[in-house]
Symmetry: D2
Subunit: 326 residues, 4 copies
């Protein structure tokens, strides 16, 4: 109802749902879903196939896989191992889609985006903290040092955010890619969801990289195959909702409630006679400018980030340093 561009989500799934809730078909976009009842894991695969679909969705052409698991932030080691394995399978799916599975010694640069000093933005750095890097060992001693037939070269970097470095993150990464020539970049980032219910229970894997304006820290420039020269997979977990989004959504709900209210039905009649633009004007001026640059996050975000970052690093360790397991 309100201006769609005013609300922000980094989840393709949420874009898709917006259209579905309004019964709009989106040409060039395919949605597949799967539900594992026993483990309560819901998988959604949004494939944006055409530029037209991309434009409608406001997200680039590519594959977006979302895992939703209500217990993602619960400390249960066995459950997390299962999620790690499932996540590894989907990353592998994207590797195959990009024809990288045949590389004898696949080299991967893992990038921990975000700001270690701001808890809900620290996901990327935490994943790198627990990552098993191997590039220097394989380079020095050969792959047999790893006790493996196929040795992937895993390297990792935590580039920091622009306020700390004075550089665009993509500048740093382009330089590192040029020097170390990995085949693939995997960027980990904390995301902004539109709906607070999605926080800390959702992981999105996409082969489209990080696009301008996404992430908790709002990357200004994209980190994509176009800007870095190699395929970029993005693993993201929504940890915040933009404060303005939550406020705008709630007002939208209030207006809807007023329109359909039995007890206040006179209000409904009047409101229904006004168009979207008029209502949007009304709402926009009520959103405090102080909310810009503010986000909403749960109080126990520290525990959640710790758990989920561990699940993701385990998944990458499983996939790349013990590939036979996958």
């Amino acid at each position: 109802m309100l201006d769609r561009s005013s609300v922000r989500t980094d989840l393709a799934l949420e874009d898709k749902e917006r259209f579905e809730s309004e019964n709009v078909e989106v040409p060039g976009v395919i949605l597949e879903e799967d539900y594992d009842e026993e483990r309560e894991i819901r998988m959604s695969r949004v494939v944006i196939e055409t530029e037209k679909g991309a434009k409608t969705m406001g997200k680039p052409v590519g594959t977006y896989i979302t895992l939703e698991a209500p217990n993602l932030a619960v400390p249960d080691e066995d459950y997390h191992r299962e999620i790690s394995e499932e996540l590894a399978d989907y990353i592998w799916e994207l590797i195959v889609r990009h024809d990288l599975q045949e590389k004898e010694d696949l080299s991967i640069l893992v990038v921990g985006l975000g700001n270690r000093q701001v808890t809900p933005d620290a996901l990327g750095p935490y994943v790198v903290d627990n990552l098993c890097v191997t590039r220097h060992i394989v380079k020095e001693y050969g792959k047999y040092a790893m006790g493996m037939e196929h040795a992937n070269l895993v390297s990792a970097i935590v580039p920091g955010v622009m306020g700390q470095t004075g550089m665009e993150t993509v500048e740093i990464l382009r330089g590192v890619v040029a020097e170390t020539k990995p085949h693939l970049m995997i960027a980990i980032d904390a995301l902004a969801a539109r709906n607070s219910r999605r926080l800390n229970r959702t992981i999105q894997i996409a082969d489209t990289g990080i696009n301008p304006g996404s992430g908790v820290g709002n990357h200004r420039n994209g980190i994509t195959e176009e800007t870095t020269g190699i395929p970029v997979f993005a693993i993201g977990v929504p940890t915040v909702v933009d404060a303005a989004t939550i406020v705008s959504d709630t007002m939208e709900s209030l207006i809807q409630a007023l329109e359909t209210s039995e007890s206040l039905k006179g209000v409904g009649e009047v409101l229904r006679s006004y168009n979207a633009a008029e209502k949007y004007e009304l709402v926009k001026e009520l959103i405090s400018p102080h909310l810009n640059g503010m986000f909403v996050t749960p109080k126990d975000v520290d525990e959640m980030i710790k758990q989920i970052s561990y699940t993701i690093s385990e998944s990458l360790n499983l996939l790349f340093t013990n590939r036979t397991a996958s």
Copy 2:
């Protein structure tokens, strides 16, 4: 308009303002204000003198001094030194009010409340990190070791939060007070404001301790003279707003706007005919239960907390380890 108890602020100043905005006089409550134009520092002193005033304000009897300085989070060393000195003066005012100024060797336990792992809740631990503790030195070598005539005994503790310790914070502090017998406790805590404009530009000093339900982490039990046996001063900085508060405030504004809207005036007529309880019902059900336990905080909260915690620790260092300065 809406139920006042549904919104939460840890700032006495905000409670006072609510009444003022409605032109309500609050008996038993005195407000003094002072504005330093040159340095843009606004001081407000709310003195709650009677139990009746306390009940109306929803805060205990005592003195609440608030400093507001728009540049509090800006990294300017000289400016921060000035704020530190001003803050020291007001803490000294409370010390005098409690007749502690005559103690030859005043002993102070500084308590860094909050969770170091969650950025907007880390204020207290950060203050303690930069505090100059002296109790062990004075105990071991006498006050002349400090090169001072009057040596205060400063001790400090970061007790952690209940989710980390399994204990109420007041249990820990009561035990430490019983063992080390300080004259005074100064508890530092991150607070929840009602208005996002107050974030990271406000410091409140109160002689009423920490009361149940206050602080970012919502202390369940009070940390007060009643529960610890010694006077407790609280230094607080609002770093978050409850997500439910922001949403509820915005809806309140929307309803007000609808009531007075020129363009939607039919709506206003209808709305005005409904009473507060009816409107509150309407709003309450729209606030997502997912917002419970969520807070709103600025993206650059890390820099702000770092700056302000440094200002507070400098203020305490100035006051207690170099008392002649005050």
Copy 3:
């Protein structure tokens, strides 16, 4: 040969070995050993039974169990799970020895000693970071909230070091014990070994608490049943060697080598004619006073502390929040 009191170890095993290397029997001290060849874990149990034995050993009467595992700092999840289980068994042995096994709702205070800011001293705080605390949940919801028949009440505290708090650690702990009345304290601490080979591959569990002068940070006052009122178990991992100890040991070796040298045999004859006191004088003055307050630690101490702290916290979680497993 040199003055024994000049060298420092927190490991009862190392005290015992010194006597054994000189073929001295220590009355009142029993040593049992066990070696698990497959997993390369060596267990030693030193039981000091009499005050005479205690005096000779320079350690209080009690039981000291040491696990040595060369792979303790290697990141292998399955191996660590095994060590955690073994460690849990030995802690349980001490619980039984102290007749605490029958307590329906055993309440345990876990104490993370040491300084989080100094990597080799951060073991205790890191263990607490990963500990599952339950006291507040059991207190609030009853033990059935834990889904268990027997619910232990686990609480935890990171008291900090005297330089940060201005208080003796035992003052803080005595206060917390008086308030929360646990049955048992388990203190985790980084230790100083005498021999650098022991670093980061050894865990000592003792029922004698923490004694003055032990630990990386050199506790001035003991944390024992005598000073706290409840049994105190200590779990320690040697992470440093005192710099003066390493230097003194090496000089001792040099003098021994000179005494027995074939090529420098004139030296040997002369040296052998001097007594221990004369040689000690010679050595003492060569140890730089700058070495006081310095320690020796491995460069990869961060990885080691991370691994071992995780093994210990898992062991406590296994034992106390899932007791049927043990």
Copy 4:
């Protein structure tokens, strides 16, 4: 006396002293000294002018300025401000020596070398934490946004260590330099001294970059003008001594003492008849192989690193974001 190559120092001053203590002149090396009695700051400038001098000293041609201040780690704000200013002057001296003072908009990449997780190696990362970066602001808003006529473009990176990244640090830096094209790199690193007296009271500034084998973490590849394409200044603070160095030094002292001992004079006669190689053999085998990869560091290294890193970041802030001050 012993093999010089067996001992390690990152301080040119210590190399120079070794020769001086033996009254050896080093051609091609100039030493200037200055002592500020009031502030107790000693400055030494070692200029290695020729390749021959470089070979003798074991350090590349260039200028090495060392400040020694016994109170460097003492928390005294005013004193630190003075050191910061002095340090800024010497960095400026090197800038002038490299003809960079005329650049209108000098762009500097500050590199925080070392491992944030290991306290004595965390100097570089800590300096970057408190650095004022400006490149992104000047790029976005022009230099007038900084309120200055001359705006330097300061950028910064904490590249991590090879064990965390799988990459040589110089690979990362070469990439970042190629992308962002700074005029000058300033690398901050924790150093190994030969003498424990030097720890945490010494700052070395050199225009020769970081050379292989230097630093606490032992960089394998150099970070120099040769490998990065731009001048590299290195600011280093010795925070550790190699454990093997301390042991070897002490044994050297013991042998010297034996040689000259009055009471053990028979020993001296014999020892003097043996040559350096024979004595070295004797000592070498006594140095435990366990000491490899170990370092000696003071217990209060956390406070020292915090103080000194702050002094260095202030110095850079003073110099580059407020250049008129220098």
